[in-house]
């Protein structure tokens, strides 16, 4: 079973809560996906609107683990402050650390990440850093105190799947004991299954579910895909072959010259 910072989880799918057509569809999606972790965020609240209150009530009713993010932060300082606010509001030490280094690609900033991760880990946070597939960055984040890593599959919101399979594979091989979660860029259930087949421990999906024509059905699809990929990984995938091999035994086949 998956364990992240001491919590046991049956589901290996994590779901983002943004961009759904309605709160009701969000709830349905989370329930059908089987996800036990959802990501949330903070925003400026207008006086008297209470929209944050309503959202928070909805999330609490889902009875899942909440993983606040620091989305939108471009410096370690902003991310650290956002993390502290999130801890207070959501009553959790968990933080999905995002420090964006480039607005066009939304690429994580390796330097800002390490700086923020150090500060946060020292302050008692349990950090889930959203990172690139960089091996050295991974090492630094672990040294900084992270015990889970979340490399990107592809730039956020692109739905391109696993853009750098070699890089993600090397990361998996290099850190066999660290829980690794593919975050961002996954666009289809087959992408999620592939991540799991590489040996990743979990995936985090948002846009692909929220923007589906039918979010709840897509959430179900991703839930099953993650299970399928994990089962496949554990059951031992066949190696790719360069040449064809008959599945039906040739020997003794009707009219076969092989007799």
């Amino acid at each position: 079973m998956l364990e992240l910072y001491g919590r046991q989880l049956e589901s290996r799918l994590m779901l983002g809560t943004a961009q759904y057509p309605s709160p009701d569809l969000l709830s349905q999606a989370v329930r059908r996906s089987g996800a036990q972790i959802v990501t949330v965020s903070l925003r400026r609240e207008s006086a008297g609107t209470k929209s944050g209150h309503a959202f928070w009530t909805l999330i609490q009713d889902l009875n899942v683990n909440v993983l606040p993010n620091t989305a939108g932060c471009q410096t370690a300082r902003d991310a650290v402050n956002t993390a502290k606010m999130a801890r207070e509001v959501f009553s959790t030490n968990w933080i999905k650390l995002e420090v964006i280094g480039d607005e066009a690609s939304l690429q994580p900033d390796p330097f800002g990440l390490v700086e923020a991760a150090k500060t946060l880990a020292a302050d008692g946070f349990e950090v889930f850093p959203y990172m690139t597939e960089d091996l050295v960055l991974a090492d630094r984040l672990l040294q900084a105190g992270c015990r889970v890593l979340m490399p990107w599959g592809a730039p956020i919101g692109t739905g391109r799947g696993l853009n750098n399979v070699l890089g993600l594979s090397m990361l998996r091989t290099h850190f066999p004991e660290v829980p690794l979660v593919v975050d961002a860029g996954i666009g289809a259930p087959s992408h999620a299954a592939k991540a799991m087949e590489l040996g990743y421990d979990a995936v985090l999906i948002n846009t692909a579910v929220a923007k589906a024509a039918n979010p709840a059905a897509m959430a179900d699809a991703f839930g099953k895909a993650v299970e399928a990929g994990r089962l496949g990984f554990e059951a031992g995938l066949m190696p790719k072959q360069d040449t064809a091999q008959p599945s039906t035994p040739v020997f003794g086949a009707p009219f076969s010259p092989f007799g």
């Binding site: 943004a18 969000l26 965020s41 609240e45 006086a47 959202f55 606010m85 509001v89 948002n206």
Partner: protein, 65 residues
């Protein structure tokens, strides 16, 4: 007194962060506060004074990816 509240000019009589939250009718348990870019914990709002030109930010839960 004129402060910057969530990025826009705001006139207030509140002398502390806590009173500002009350004045604006925020649920104190559901929002987080920052003053001039730094987080102010819930329990320090009452002792955190406001002065003219301060930047206050008040955050609430929202959707996130």
């Amino acid at each position: 007194m004129l402060i910057e509240m969530n990025g826009t000019q705001h006139k207030t009589q509140a002398t502390t962060l806590q009173r500002l939250c009350d004045e604006l009718e925020f649920d104190p348990l559901v929002v987080a506060t920052a003053l001039n870019g730094d987080f102010i914990p819930r329990e320090e709002r009452g002792i955190t004074g406001l002065t003219n030109g301060d930047r206050v930010e008040i955050f609430a839960p929202m959707q996130g990816g």
